[in-house]
């Protein structure tokens, strides 16, 4: 009775909701036809379908709850209602080795990517001036025809200008497809761009451990975790996998509770969970790591040789790091010598212990040194490749269609970064860029202003974008050919970290496409076919599905999660499982040798952009818990998800130490102006006890000029005032190396979830 009543209530309400939709459209002159359903789903019955999360690079497996429902669609120019499978919720794929059924906030909000009201539903052609955002709808044939016409001349061997393809770092067959596509264009460049790109750490790991790869941490068995700036429970690397093992580290083992110490100048979401917070001076994290290593060696807790080859990149390692006595390190890092000694002893005596480095410490001019120092410390602690330490997820290197042998001409291909692309566009060398294809990356939003990315991009004669949204970069496009959302697409990914086994995340579309969009891989295959010649030869597949099948079916012969008698059975099982993961050793990409370097890395003092007397504060942009690097700012659930520490919603803010704020006459919520040598921004102030007095911090992600109704014109973009200092060895942007000044402007507006006091403990009130 109870249940029936309940179901009746919900059914009635759901029907009511549908009825509202119907009535709204049932208005005279707006009659909606009902199309014949394209999918067979039992009404009211949930189907869980696998998919792969594309919200960040972790490559978590998804379980999509699909229920039949009415969607308003356009078919052959006629709008109407159709019964389709609708995604109702995203959960983690319980069998997936990276996230094991769990999913973070950003991953779950991915549902609002597919159903975003600002998603582009048709191909668009620019009608106004570039960047004006004025577009007219065009048909797919017309759009593809235009793209073909524009790219055709570039594909000919005699082309005088080249093609560039701008993407975020891609993996799996998507990357292979684009590489193969570009192989047919002489002098073409695959430019990958991501703001928080971990390039420095990959290089350090390549040097220290022979793996240019992000590490996987076995926190579940660690007794002490020492993290240098890594937001590993929030946004960095594979946060869900790391949170899973973190939970076990804390309370998942009987009698053992792992300890966690975080070193960073501002308490991050991850730092908030730490037992001890050490606000070392920005840029001195490497020194601190070596100070600890010094104590380990000088107190004979570990022999220098234990570090193996990882130690040889640090000058003075084999001598016991005489320059890094705790007193000396303390002076630079402002961490007390006793703290350093205490940390060293804890790490040594409570093994397994592991050190993690990531995020801001590596975004300094001495980032590579810092990474190598922490790597050496890990090696010294004996935590590399051991339970409770760090390891590397095996990579399925030999899988997939090999890129065609590089021709002579495309040996000059740039697999570059956004600076080299901008340089090439400006100078026209080695070849002018004749056309630019943009797939998801948004450097106009996320690159420092002095790189002049926008100024460069507008000079490209032809830009096409495959994005689902118009953002700051894709709004420069002449032609937009919107992609399916990832729930509507074939998705594949090869997670770089987060699991002990080799992992392929792969899934067929979980949903019918809602809009008049096409999957970009299929568009590229189609285009390759139209272009003919070497492009067509490099991409012989009709569909992306066929390409994926060809690439991944050989996994059947490896020990893994799927046993099948035939390729077809294997394929269908992989599709059902949402991927494949190894159950034994797999042939890996050959570890890249530490080539190109034989000398230790010198410890340079960190350099900062802006003189300290004019710009007294370190400026720390941090990936926000809601928006990561800003790509999720158009999702209303995340906009309204309160920030853990500030509880701010729907905006951005500047975090300042209360003492500093008092000195500057700034109160909570005041509008402050943050100036660097490169720009000025305004945002309301949040007074946070968890930040060093000489640091001001700001979340990355807001301040979009053009990114749909939920993100546009909201908050400020910290990238807009960043300097262009780089880590010299890798060329990575030192995004934490800018200095700023702060002053009060007036009263500001903060949208806070909690306006209560900072502390809820029963503080005795003065009566």
């Amino acid at each position: 009775m109870r249940r029936r009543t309940f179901l009746m209530f919900s059914a009635a309400t759901a029907a009511g909701a549908m009825w509202d939709v119907a009535v709204e459209h049932g208005a005279p002159g707006k009659e909606l036809v009902r199309f014949i359903p394209e999918t067979k789903l039992i009404p009211g019955v949930t189907v869980w379908r696998p998919s792969v999360c594309a919200q960040c690079a972790a490559g978590c497996g998804l379980s999509v709850r699909v229920v039949e429902g009415d969607a308003e669609v356009v078919r052959k120019g006629q709008s109407g209602l159709i019964k389709v499978g609708l995604a109702k919720k995203l959960e983690g794929n319980p069998g997936h080795p990276v996230n094991r059924g769990k999913l973070c906030a950003r991953g779950q909000a991915g549902l609002q990517v597919t159903y975003n009201p600002d998603r582009l539903s048709h191909p668009l052609r620019r009608t106004g001036p570039r960047g004006s955002g004025q577009y007219a709808e065009v048909g797919w044939e017309e759009a593809l025809g235009e793209l073909h016409a524009r790219l055709g001349p570039l594909a000919s061997p005699s082309a005088t200008s080249s093609l560039a393809f701008l993407t975020p770092p891609l993996r799996g067959q998507r990357r292979a497809l684009i590489e193969n596509f570009l192989s047919g264009f002489d002098g073409s460049a695959l430019v990958s761009f991501e703001f928080f790109d971990d390039r420095v750490l990959r290089e350090a790991n390549r040097l220290s451990f022979g793996r240019a790869q992000l590490p996987t941490f076995d926190l579940a068995q660690s007794n002490v975790v020492l993290s240098f700036g890594a937001d590993f429970l929030g946004t960095w690397n594979s946060p869900v996998a790391q949170s899973l093992s973190y939970g076990t580290m804390r309370q998942g083992r009987s009698g053992v509770r792992g300890k966690f110490v975080q070193v960073e100048p501002r308490i991050s979401q991850t730092g908030a969970s730490s037992d001890e917070w050490i606000p070392a001076r920005p840029g001195t994290e490497g020194e601190l790591a070596l100070g600890i290593a010094h104590v380990l060696m000088s107190e004979h807790l570990r022999p220098a040789a234990a570090a193996g080859s990882a130690g040889r990149w640090i000058a003075g390692w084999s001598d016991g790091l005489p320059e890094y006595r705790p007193e000396a390190v303390a002076w630079k890092t402002s961490v007390a010598p006793e703290t350093i000694r205490g940390l060293a002893r804890q790490l040594a005596t409570h093994s397994p212990a592991v050190a993690i480095v990531g995020g801001a410490p590596l975004a300094q001019t001495n980032g590579l040194f810092t990474a190598l120092a922490v790597n050496a410390l890990n090696a010294l602690l004996g935590s590399v490749g051991k339970p409770g330490g760090l390891q590397f997820t095996p990579q399925l290197g030999s899988i997939g269609p090999a890129a065609p042998a590089k021709s002579k001409s495309n040996a000059a291909n740039l697999s570059g970064n956004i600076q080299t692309l901008a340089q090439q566009i400006r100078t026209g060398k080695p070849k002018p860029v004749g056309a630019l294809l943009i797939y998801q990356a948004n450097p106009v939003f996320a690159a420092p202003p002095d790189w002049q990315v926008k100024e460069a991009l507008v000079k490209v004669p032809f830009i096409a974008s495959f994005g689902s949204f118009t953002d700051e970069t894709s709004s420069l496009a002449d032609l937009i050919l919107p992609d399916h959302s990832y729930l509507e697409s074939w998705v594949d990914d090869l997670p770089e970290s987060g699991a002990a086994e080799a992992v392929l995340s792969l899934a067929p579309p979980a949903l019918e496409p809602l809009h008049h969009t096409r999957a970009t891989p299929d568009v590229l295959l189609d285009l390759a076919h139209r272009l003919g010649g070497p492009v067509a030869k490099a991409l012989p597949w009709k569909t992306y599905e066929a390409m994926l099948q060809d690439a991944y079916t050989p996994l059947r012969h490896l020990p893994g999660s799927v046993s099948a008698a035939s390729d077809d059975e294997f394929w269908s099982k992989v599709k059902d499982q949402g991927g494949w993961w190894s159950a034994g050793p797999v042939p890996e990409t050959k570890p890249t040798a530490a080539r190109g370097r034989s000398q230790p890395v010198k410890n340079q003092e960190p350099e900062f952009d802006g003189p300290a007397q004019d710009f007294p504060f370190h400026f720390l942009p941090f990936p926000s818990q809601q928006f990561g690097d800003g790509r999720h700012a158009n999702l209303p659930w995340l906009q309204e998800m309160p920030d853990l520490l500030s509880t701010a919603m729907w905006g951005s803010w500047v975090e300042i130490h209360p003492g500093t704020a008092q000195r500057l006459g700034i109160a909570e919520g005041d509008l402050v102006e943050v100036s660097s040598p490169h720009g000025v921004l305004r945002a309301p102030a949040v007074l946070s006890p968890g930040i060093a007095p000489d640091v001001v911090a700001m979340p990355v992600g807001q301040g979009h000029e053009r990114y749909g109704r939920y993100a546009s014109g909201r908050g400020a973009n910290p990238m807009a005032i960043l300097g262009t200092k780089t880590e010299p060895e890798t060329g990575a942007l030192a995004w934490a190396a800018t200095r700023v000044s702060v002053r009060r402007i007036g009263k500001g507006e903060l949208c806070l979830f909690s306006v209560g006091p900072l502390e809820w403990g029963a503080k005795q009130l003065k009566r």
Binding site: P757, W760, A762, Q764
Partner: protein, 469 residues
């Protein structure tokens, strides 16, 4: 027939006529200024209605309420107006039972305040509902929902208590009007005559009728006092029943009742002063009335201080963290200005005015009453809002600022009160004519030994217009 008797015989009809004439004048004649006043007040009430419809259409979001301050101006007004309603019936009933003769010109004035304040007050729980059109779900009746209301809810108690109190107060007000309506029936002409003929129920004034009426009023007076006490106690229980810091208090019942009587008397004094001025009843509402009510007000002001001290000292001394947070927020925190204004309005200003005999004049008591009305509204606000803003978990503390909708509706009710009152005095003599005339007669026992000089020794001398004055 003695000379004295003859003199009286000659003088009396004129005198009586004048009394009736004076008291009926406001009913039978309306000046343009009154019409203008009514229209102005009506405009405010209309604005309030528009604001309410606006709110009902768009949702409670147009108010300034939020989480955690789910109650604000509306509930403040509810408590305030229910408090004001204690002016009349309770005071009138007590004075009736105590047979205080000076009450006679005051009672109807006071009882009318009760009825109108109750109606206004009782409308606020409906105004503040998220779905006001479903207010009748509070009423126990066999409904299609197959469920009756929850009698464990203090809101249901409120409903029962207010219904009872309104019924009783209406009876208390209307029963003694019947003879006056009979008089009006005889005096009025046209449609009014027909109306009053119906309203007078065929009243003649036989000994039987008079006896039953007086008996009914005596029973009502006995019943209405505990009802009035219970009503504001139950209003206080709306707060005291739930575990909210500074709400969950045993002192709330008497504290609210005392506050209600306090604000009620203040409202009565203001109403009387206004009637006196506007309807030219100077000869009937005399300084002595204000003096007596002023003394009552003085007692209530002291009682109010007593309760404030009883409440606050206990909390302060007990030092339970959530309660002290609320206590300090009101005394020293963001509510400091309101809190100390309230203390000034309810005690520091009125106390000397009311305590010093020379200042206890009509003007003095009206000034004191005006500050008390403001102070008591603030007191209600300071009971409702700070506790919600500073409820247990500091993370969920909040802020409240009323919106224009709430302010408009609040103002509208402050306009509705005089409007209803004006309309009332246009239909009913605001001073009970028969009771006032009855007061002219000496008590039967005294009549037998009626002696010269007796009237001068009457402590209530001067409460009635003397002949020829």
């Amino acid at each position: 027939m003695t000379t004295r008797e003859r003199q009286r015989l000659e003088a009396a009809p004129q005198d009586r006529d004048r009394l009736t004439r004076d008291l009926l004048r406001p009913v039978l004649h309306t000046s343009p200024r009154i019409y203008l006043t009514m229209m102005a007040l009506g405009a405010f009430v209309l604005a309030g209605l528009v604001a309410f419809v606006y709110q009902a259409y768009w949702g409670m979001g147009v108010s300034g309420l939020n989480r955690p301050v789910f109650w604000g101006f509306y509930i403040t007004n509810f408590v305030f107006w229910i408090g004001i309603s204690h002016a009349g019936t309770l005071i009138s009933a007590i004075l009736r039972l105590a047979n205080a003769r000076w009450r006679r010109p005051v009672t109807r004035c006071a009882e009318a305040i009760t009825v109108f304040a109750l109606v206004i007050g009782a409308s606020f729980p409906i105004i503040h509902l998220g779905r006001p059109w479903l207010f009748f779900w509070l009423i126990p009746y066999p409904s299609e929902r197959g469920i009756w209301p929850n009698f464990r809810s203090p809101l249901l108690w409120d409903f029962c208590a207010i219904t009872t109190y309104l019924t009783g107060s209406l009876a208390f007000l209307l029963l003694p009007i019947i003879p006056d309506w009979a008089t009006l029936r005889d005096r009025a002409i046209g449609w009014r005559k027909k109306l009053y003929r119906v309203l007078a129920l065929g009243w003649r004034g036989t000994p039987r009728e008079w006896h039953r009426l007086e008996m009914a009023m005596r029973i009502m007076a006995v019943v209405i006092i505990p009802v009035a006490v219970s009503v504001h106690t139950i209003v206080s229980w709306d707060f005291a029943m739930v575990p909210v810091p500074m709400w969950h208090s045993t002192v709330f019942g008497p504290y609210f009742v005392a506050g209600a009587i306090f604000s009620g008397i203040a409202a009565l004094i203001i109403a009387m002063a206004l009637l006196r001025k506007i309807l030219h009843l100077e000869e009937y509402l005399k300084p002595i009335h204000f003096d007596h009510l002023g003394k009552l007000l003085l007692v209530m002001s002291l009682l109010w201080v007593y309760f404030i001290v009883a409440e606050r000292l206990t909390v302060w001394y007990g030092n339970a963290t959530p309660e002290v947070a609320v206590l300090l927020a009101t005394q020293r925190g963001k509510f400091l200005p309101l809190f100390w204004t309230m203390v000034c309005c309810n005690f520091l200003i009125p106390f000397p005015i009311l305590a010093i005999k020379r200042l206890r004049t009509i003007t003095g008591t009206v000034i004191a009453s005006s500050t008390i009305v403001v102070g008591m509204w603030l007191e209600r606000f300071l009971i409702v809002v700070p506790s919600l803003e500073f409820k247990y978990l500091p993370f969920s503390w909040g802020n409240y600022r009323p919106s224009w909708v709430e302010i408009t509706i609040t103002l509208a009710t402050f306009a509705a009160m005089p409007l209803l009152y004006l309309l009332f005095v246009k239909f009913v003599p605001i001073i009970s004519m028969w009771e006032l005339k009855g007061g002219e007669h000496p008590e039967p026992a005294a009549a037998a030994e009626l002696a010269p000089g007796h009237e001068a020794s009457d402590p209530w001398e001067g409460t009635l217009p003397s002949a020829g004055s």
